[in-house]
């Protein structure tokens, strides 16, 4: 702050207010009454605050703490604000704004100093300036290595693969393998490849919905003739929009619905999206029923599961 405006202000002997100066009067018409009301409000505020202490001491219900403290602090605050508004000098008072800008000479002098010291003194040594700039740039780039690169592994192929393998048993969240007789027509269960039902990554990446549409083999798309044995179809449970679990099954529409943004997928038609923001079908897991009647995976998914990303072709 420049000194000039303060020099103007401080030494000036401001008007000495007398106690009958209207500016010094409170806003309240009847200050004594207002004071009493405020005091009463603050008194109840104190009661509330004491109530909080009592509630704490006796370990009262959770809401009692907040209620007593809230009422107490609210009334106390109301009192203090009302004191300021109604009983302190109502004013209004005025203060001059001091100009932010300096004089033309001060501006010139600063600009001249920047130009001379920057362009003149620093600019004279172009080599050193360049080398210093290069050094700082190199430091910035190198410093980014630990700050960025150390934070995590590179994606590599992790997004394109899941833990499903040829022969993986489809197990539910408790690890029980699904048998061909387990689901009635219209039934649905969330399954994982055996051995991954407890792992966090397994839950996040491998989660698959198994739905029984009929009792006959079911073909959802041309080329998937063997993928739907005994009316069972399995789709990735990761929504192709943002990766929420597609957790709702509309049995009558034979559609999977994502609760996050309401994308709908037609289960009978390769889970192509029929509604909502999802751009792609849910990948279907090829499955088969083994000799003992257990449902197992033919292979991993044929395409990456979950939402889209740059490297996904």
């Amino acid at each position: 702050m420049s000194d000039a405006p303060q020099e103007e202000r401080t030494p000036v002997s401001l008007a000495t207010a007398t106690s009958d100066d209207p500016h010094m009067q409170p806003l309240a018409r009847d200050p004594e009454r207002t004071e009493r009301l405020i005091a009463i409000a603050m008194f109840f505020g104190i009661l509330g605050i004491i109530g909080f202490g009592v509630a704490y001491w006796f370990n009262a219900d959770a809401w009692v703490y907040g209620f007593t403290m809230g009422i107490g602090v609210l009334l106390l605050g109301f009192g203090i604000t009302a004191w300021g508004k109604y009983l302190m000098p109502k004013g209004p008072f005025v203060e001059e704004r001091h100009e932010l800008r300096g004089t033309d000479e001060e501006r010139e002098s600063l600009a001249a100093a920047v130009v001379q010291r920057g362009g003149g003194i620093l600019g004279r040594r172009k080599l050193l300036g360049g080398v210093a700039g290069l050094g700082l740039a190199a430091f910035g780039i190198v410093a980014a290595f630990p700050l960025v690169r150390s934070l995590g592994p590179l994606p590599k192929k992790t997004l394109t693969k899941t833990d499903w393998r040829r022969g993986s048993y489809l197990v539910d969240s408790t690890g029980r393998p699904v048998h061909v007789d387990d689901l009635a027509v219209g039934g649905i269960v969330t399954v994982f490849p055996k051995g991954y039902q407890d792992t966090e990554s397994g839950q996040a990446v491998d989660q698959t919905v198994l739905i029984r549409l009929t009792t006959e083999n079911f073909t959802t798309r041309p080329g998937r003739e063997t993928w739907g044995p005994a009316g069972y179809v399995a789709y990735s449970k990761l929504c192709s929009h943002l990766g929420c679990p597609v957790g709702l099954y509309e049995q009558q529409l034979q559609s999977l619905v994502c609760p996050c943004h309401q994308s709908m997928f037609d289960v009978t038609n390769g889970c192509v999206p029929t509604f909502g923001p999802a751009p792609r079908p849910l990948p279907q897991l090829p499955i088969y029923v083994d000799g003992r009647g257990y449902v197992r995976a033919q292979s991993d998914y044929k395409e990456p599961v979950g939402p889209g990303y740059w490297e996904r072709s």
Partner: protein, 515 residues
């Protein structure tokens, strides 16, 4: 101190007793006297809309106080523990330490539930107050020269507040917050070229991993709060340096500030208001349940609950994600998930970009490069007001779009109908809002005394059956004539027994005033 006042004799200075001594000693070392007096006298203009920013500031104070309490109990770890707390339905379940500690601090720490709920409510109030404060600044033109920088800082603060709200909301590791994290991962992944790298660096690998909760914890309690604290300080410093704006009125010019002095009037009002905001937050925390994580249960990547809703300030982005068409670009061996990248990254970028650019845009459009310390009434700037209203309408429609499923259910219309209705409304409502707002502004300009409350009439019937309408006698504020503003006086001269506050002054009609 260069005192010239003749009153200020040594004898008089003695009268200030120990305070005078302390001020003297401090002034010798810190030089406080010179600026100190003008700081006490600093004038704050008075208008209800100026307290909106105060609400934001006080919510931030509450956030820090309750937040520090929560960090003493919260465990930022995704390692699996068995829950043994007092909430029976979860007992014996394998949950993350983050979730278990969040439930524990709610049920097994005395006052913990109140602190958690107050923290969450204070966050919603914080962001809300910033938004309303920003709207006030926008509609009254307070962002104009010389305050563009402070406006920019405020906008950055809004972004940081929203960001930290989301990060904090993710920490309990419950089913809803975990779903939010999944969506955050997918949005990061959607960035062209570097998306998967960004997502893997942020989460320390593929989703969910075990790094995100500890990382978000540090971001939530240290990194962003530190930046917010620094920027709030800068915001307030610039406010003091440039002085507050004021509405035009009696004796108010571009070169002065009319209002109440900082000490004691403004300080009393502000302190009381801090308590009032705290009180309301405590009442909300006590009586209005928020984010009951024990009902949602721990996060399980394969589970989800219906009608998943983020906090209110994320609603506009969620709405955009819902109604955006499912356009994905696939070609040249690459994929650009435009259905995610555009609504979740580009769209907020454009909205905040407009916010940042507005002062410059308006300066360019109006060719107005003058200093402005007097505020506009919104009606006097119909185009700006219209544009602001249209933006709010646009964001409001996006917000409503984030509950298409709930609305479709409630109104018994098809989800498809709701979706298309929102797609149309998001465009149509702002387009209609602009001309309607401009028209209202112009009408209000034309009405003398427009916007002021009309005085009520008291209708009486005389014994003869005649009806008379007489304007009502008084309203609060009637008869209160605003005086001409004066500089804050040095001190008050008391008659006779000065400093004594007993009633009964020697002069008739003179009220005794405490110093």
């Amino acid at each position: 101190m260069s005192t010239t006042s003749t009153d200020n004799t040594d004898a008089k200075r003695e009268a200030f007793g120990p305070v005078g001594k302390i001020v003297g000693e401090l002034d010798d070392r810190l030089g406080i006297a010179k600026g100190g007096r003008s700081l006490l006298d600093k004038i704050f203009p008075d208008h209800w809309s100026f307290m909106l920013g105060e609400i934001a500031l006080y919510s931030f104070v509450i956030l820090m106080a309750t937040g520090i309490f929560l960090t003493l109990f919260y465990v930022p770890s995704q390692s699996i523990v068995v829950y043994h707390g007092s909430y029976a339905p979860l007992r014996g379940q394998h949950v993350t330490a983050a979730f278990a500690s969040s439930v524990d601090l709610s049920f097994d720490v005395r006052c913990g539930m109140l602190m958690r709920q107050m923290h969450h409510w204070a966050c919603d109030i914080f962001v809300g107050a910033i938004v309303v404060h920003m709207a006030r600044v926008f509609f009254t033109g307070a962002f104009r020269k010389p305050r563009e920088l402070n406006y920019t800082i405020g906008t950055v603060l809004l972004i940081l507040a929203i960001g930290n709200g989301f990060v904090g909301y993710s920490l309990p590791d419950d089913l809803v917050s975990g779903t939010g994290l999944r969506i955050a991962f997918s949005i990061t992944e959607s960035v062209p070229v570097v998306g998967t790298y960004l997502a893997f660096f942020l989460f320390g690998g593929n989703f969910p991993g075990t790094a995100i909760i500890p990382r978000f914890f540090v971001i939530h309690v240290l990194l962003i709060p530190l930046i917010i604290l620094g920027l709030v300080s800068a915001h307030l410093f610039l406010l003091v340096r440039q002085k507050h704006t004021q509405f035009p009125g009696k004796g108010r010019t571009e070169t002065n500030v009319v209002g109440a002095p900082m000490v004691p009037v403004f300080a009393a009002k502000a302190t009381g208001f801090l308590f009032m905001v705290t009180g309301v937050t405590a009442l909300l925390g006590a009586l209005a349940q928020i984010n009951p994580i024990w009902l949602f249960g721990p996060y399980d990547a394969a589970k989800i609950s219906y009608a998943v809703q983020p906090d209110w300030y994320m609603g506009w982005l969620d709405g955009a994600l819902r109604i955006w068409p499912s356009w994905e670009f696939v070609g040249f061996g690459y994929t650009i998930p435009l259905e995610v990248f555009l609504p979740a990254a580009v769209f907020p970028g454009v909205v905040f970009g407009i916010c940042f650019a507005w002062p410059a845009l308006e300066r360019w459009y109006t060719k107005d490069n003058a200093m402005h310390n007097l505020l506009d009434r919104p009606r006097d700037r119909p185009k700006r007001t219209g544009a602001g209203a249209a933006m709010l309408a646009f964001l409001g429609m996006m917000f409503i779009a984030s509950s298409t499923d709930v609305l479709a259910n409630y109104f018994h219309v098809s989800l498809n109908g709701m979706l298309w209705a929102m797609r149309i409304l998001v465009i149509a409502v702002p387009l209609l809002t602009y001309p309607i707002t401009v028209k209202i502004c112009k009408e209000l300009q034309a009405v003398p005394e427009g916007g002021k409350r009309k005085r009520a009439n008291v209708v009486t019937r005389t014994p003869e059956g005649e009806y008379l309408a007489v304007p009502a006698v008084s309203r609060p504020g009637d008869g209160h004539v605003e005086l001409d503003a004066e500089p804050v006086p040095t001190f008050i001269e008391f008659t006779e027994d000065s400093g004594d506050e007993t009633e009964g002054s020697s002069e008739e009609g003179v009220r005794r005033v405490s110093r």
